[in-house]
Structure formats: C-alpha cells, structure tokens
Symmetry: C2
Amino acid sequence: MDPIFNFSAGPAILPEEVLQQAREEMLDWHGSSMSVMEMSHRGIEFMSIAAKVESDLRELASIPANYKILFLSGGASSQFAMVPMNLLRGKKSADYINTGEWSQKAIKEAKKYCTVNIAASSAAENFSCAPTQDRWTLDPAAAYVHYTPNETIGGVEFNWVPDVDANVPLVSDMSSSILSRPLDVTRFGLIYAGAQKNMGPAGLTIVIVREDLLGVTLPGTPTMFDYKIHADNDSMYNTPPTYAMYIMGLVLEWLKRNGGLVAMEKVNIAKSKLLYDLLDTSDFYHCPVAKSDRSRMNVPFTLKNAELDGTFLQQSQERGLIQLKGHRSVGGMRASIYNAMPIEGLVALVEFMREFEINHA
Amino acid sequence: MDPIFNFSAGPAILPEEVLQQAREEMLDWHGSSMSVMEMSHRGIEFMSIAAKVESDLRELASIPANYKILFLSGGASSQFAMVPMNLLRGKKSADYINTGEWSQKAIKEAKKYCTVNIAASSAAENFSCAPTQDRWTLDPAAAYVHYTPNETIGGVEFNWVPDVDANVPLVSDMSSSILSRPLDVTRFGLIYAGAQKNMGPAGLTIVIVREDLLGVTLPGTPTMFDYKIHADNDSMYNTPPTYAMYIMGLVLEWLKRNGGLVAMEKVNIAKSKLLYDLLDTSDFYHCPVAKSDRSRMNVPFTLKNAELDGTFLQQSQERGLIQLKGHRSVGGMRASIYNAMPIEGLVALVEFMREFEINHA
C-alpha cells in the first residue's frame, strides 16, 4: 500500500517518530509505571516534562527572559477575547488588520470589549493578499495592533513583520505558522497559537507575552482569562492539558533533532515551491493568492472545472493523499503542509496532480 | 516487581485496558492510517468518535434528551465563571453551599458576577461534613443553587441530592465523583466535571445542561464562555480537545463492559469500605470526616504521629503505592480511589498500612 499523506488543516499530521515514542511510553513513562496521562500535574515526573517543554520552546524560538510562555487551553477562539481583556489596559481602542476569516473572528470578538479600528484590509482584493504597510492607518493611541500572519483558510501569509510604534504592542495569531520559520519574538508584545497545527494535539494553546504588559484586566474578566494568573502560577493555576503538553514536548525534541527553525524554513520553502510551481505552470489548476503573499503552510487551489472537484478528491484519497478538501466556507481544495509533512508528501501530491490534469484536461 | 497503584487525585489512574487500546491505535485508528490526534475534528472519522462518546455518556448516565452534553476545555475553574455568566439570566444573586476548598473557589469567582448567598456552610465543623438540608437557608429568588457533591481535597461527599425549588436550578461540580455511582440527571439544571479524575485525561471538561436554561449571558461574556454557542455547534464551534475526547470514549466503553454505574457504585463502596474500616479500627490513623459524609473517591487521613509522614510516604512508594501525599493545603495523606483503581490497590494499601502500624505503633 502507498504511504498515507495527511493534508488536514488541523488537527494535523504529527511526526511519525513522535507518535512512535508516544506509543512506546503510553503505559510507562521513563520507568515511572505511569502513563503521562495519569501523572499529577504537580508531581516531579510531570513537572520535569513541563519544564523541558518550556525550555525547549524558549530555545527553539529564541524567546527572551522578559517574555512569559503560558500553556493554556481554549484555542485561538479564547484568545480573541483574552487579548482585549488583558491588553486594553485602560485604553478604549485597538487596531486590527483584516486579512480573512480568522482576522474577522478576532475582530468580531474584540468589538465586545473596545472600539476596533480596521487599520488595513484586503477585503477589496477578496482577501487574496497581505496589505502592504503603506496602506495601514495605525492609531498611535491604540492599545495594541492585532494581525494574523497566516490565514489558514485563505492561504495568505505575511512574509514580513509589520513595523509598529514601540509603545503599541504587536499581537499576532500564529496558530498556523508558529515554528515554521525563525521568529524575532522581540518584535511582538504577544504571540498566541493553538498547538493543533504545527506543535501538537488539539486542546493546548501557547501564549508568549512580554511580562510588562500583564496585570491589568477589564472588570468581569474570568480568572481563567487573566494572563497574569497563569504567568504567576507557571501555567499551573489549574490542571493544564498535561498529555497535550507532553506530545508538544516530543514535537519540540523532533524539531531540535532536525535542525530547528532555520532548517524547517528551508524545507518549508522547498515543499511549498513544489506545489506552487505546479499551480503556476498549469491552466488546469488555480491559486487565488498573490504570489508575494502565499502561505508556506496552507495552499488553497481550485480546478478550473469545479465539476471535477469530487473526482479529484476521490482519486487523491485512493492514492493516500487525504484531507485535501477545501474549507467549507471557500470550497475547492487545500493542502496544509505543516512542519511534519515530509517532502515526499508534496512529491506524491504534485505527481498525482500532473496525472490528473493529463487525464482530465 | 510489585504492581504499581496510583492514588493521584487527578490527573489520575486510567484503566489499563484503555491505555493498551490507545497504544495499539496510536499510529493507525481503525485502518485510517491516522492517529486520532491527526484527524480533522470535522472529518468523518473523528465525527464518529465524538458521536459515540456522546451517546455512550448519555446511555451510561441516563441523560434525557432535553439535556445538552458539551465537550469543553478550561476545567472546573472556567466553569466557576461560566455558571454565573450563563445562569444568572437577569437575576442578581445565587445560592452557594460552602463545604471546602473547591466550593470556596466557585464562590470567590461567582462574587465577580453576582451577590452570593452562602445558603449553608460546614466551616464551623472545619469542613468535615456535608451540612444537612435542615441547615440550608435557600433564597427562592436565587438564580441557581451551587454545591460541590464531592470535595476532592477535604474528602467530604454528599450521599444525597439536595431538594431545591423547582424554579431554581441545582448546579453541581461533579469533577471528582461523576460516573462513580448512578445519577438522576433530572434533579439538576447543570452538572460540570473536569475529565481528569474519573473520565479521562486533563484538558477536557464535560457540561450537562438542561437546554431551556441556555440563551442569556451577562454582557461581556466571551463567546467561548457561552454555553449556547457550544450547544448550537455540537461542541465544534472551535476545535475541541479531540484526543482527550477519544480517551474518554475508551473509558466509557470500559465502563459499559464492566456493568455501568450500578456496578461501579458497588465496587466503589467495597473499595472505600476496606480503607475506612481500617481507619476506624485503628488509633494509629485518623480520618477527619464525619462517617455519614465520607467520600468514596478521595480518602484523606493522618497519622497520629505526623513525624512519621515522611517515612510512611517513602515506604508506601517503595511498595508501589504512589501519589499518596495529601494536598499541600491540608497535609497528611490522601488516597484517591477513582473507578479505575482496582480493588487490589486497596487490599495492598490496607495491608501496607497495617504493617506500618505494627512496625511504628
């Protein structure tokens, strides 16, 4: 049987070595006679796992000491409220960049808590590009600037970090691109990311936040939505999602063994280039995203003849190329090619797509 | 080597069969060539897992059709805010029963959102009992009545369900006792429980709620804290903690194979009796909880001579009886004996304790 390549947008493919190690350790972690799932989060065994996850993430992403790393739950959808609840700090408005579905969800939730200034938008281009910074109208009085560097559904990625006023923290939803390339954390006030795309299983959310931003929340903020509570308790104010943290730890160890973020970026450029080169040299397929702003993680594409979509999806699945269906809101196809997707997956996908074109053009 | 028995209060012991099945399916769930961690939550594979978890829980706990089952994250600590944010429904106060540390956390958080009437308290008895209902002063105008039927730290359990006004929903934090005995869901407006004690891994929270209570939230309630959003989206408004749901599903199948909640209650009575009988016939050990209100799940006890605590913990651990240390807030020892703890674990613990008494009395 052909190998299976899983192009799910998330929860998504994990490195096979990670799953193998998780299998081996399932009933007995390091001679403890316990599964990691069975460990008290305050016991020495799990505390050592948690400390290693944090230090490995700090090392891989070069996170300075004045940034806290929080291990939370609730996904980016919870962050959409937590960010304004914690970062408004007495101010009344925030700047948001609107580049597609995930930006819009963040904007909609923020409007519950403050005036949202849409500082830039690619709505006029049907969200097919990242608006260049000369089109941004930032408000120096804004509490923060929020943007989505990779739109998982639209497949639009910022290949640059915005320049913002030093007094206005930059907030970034990196759910679908974190750890896919080197990162200068010092450019950001706060970074958040669900783990279930590039870091681990669903149910774990990472927040990296400059600690001087913490300590003031809106009235009525739930204790569990207060970053400072989690920061002061080393993410153990309550029971964290322990097993998801353990799996993320295995993913981080895999990243370190494979050259870290510099090596990941090289591979991710090579992988995405294989697919974009095909899309650009074919009249049969189409990618709607501006060339300069194409995501290395999520590649949406359509067939010129949409009536062939069903056949494409069926035949690709028969070839072991699974979960290629586009998001229900946009249709077509989407290949999500996170760190854990081997380049062989792209080779197999491109080979299938060339054959399919020949057979159906 | 002796078998290991894990008395952790949570995250806690899981049935060995569950862990074995999870190990076997880690890299390939039912021929899908995917780990459950790698499945899109909206794909047919995971949707089938989610549907089975819900129907098995509905069957095991006899949950009527007019109750929604929600699969959330954030633990009981998030519920402490979600309950008032969703159940005040225009009212200004709620009744709370104070029976120990977890009640008090719920009360403290609720005070952010409403007037809390302490309708009963066992503070005068140092939280060593469940206040009988003749001591309750319920307010007919309260939005709801909240209680904690099993105090995980104090080891106090209600062996009866309170009678409340039919118009005032009863809310219950069942984190450490859910599925340990049969349950009449119709007596409750809302039940919540973190999964990490009696149902599965950390990172998953179950809410069982009568659907007519949903639809009105406090201003400023985060979307992710709105029960109705989750109910209307079958707990897929955002990505749920998929792997934790899968493990919980395996636990529910194990419960069904082993006779369901009626059988669990019998075993739990037998297991806890072994330990309480020893505590009651010894001058060497002491259990601070009133006999009528002793928990079947969490058994706190002390040694008359606290100087022996360290020796007790060290020798018990050497015998494979692990995680017996009492909660940091109360000291002493605590044996948490959830559904997954086999009766052999209690036999071994009692045997060790008798020997220890003989050697140190």
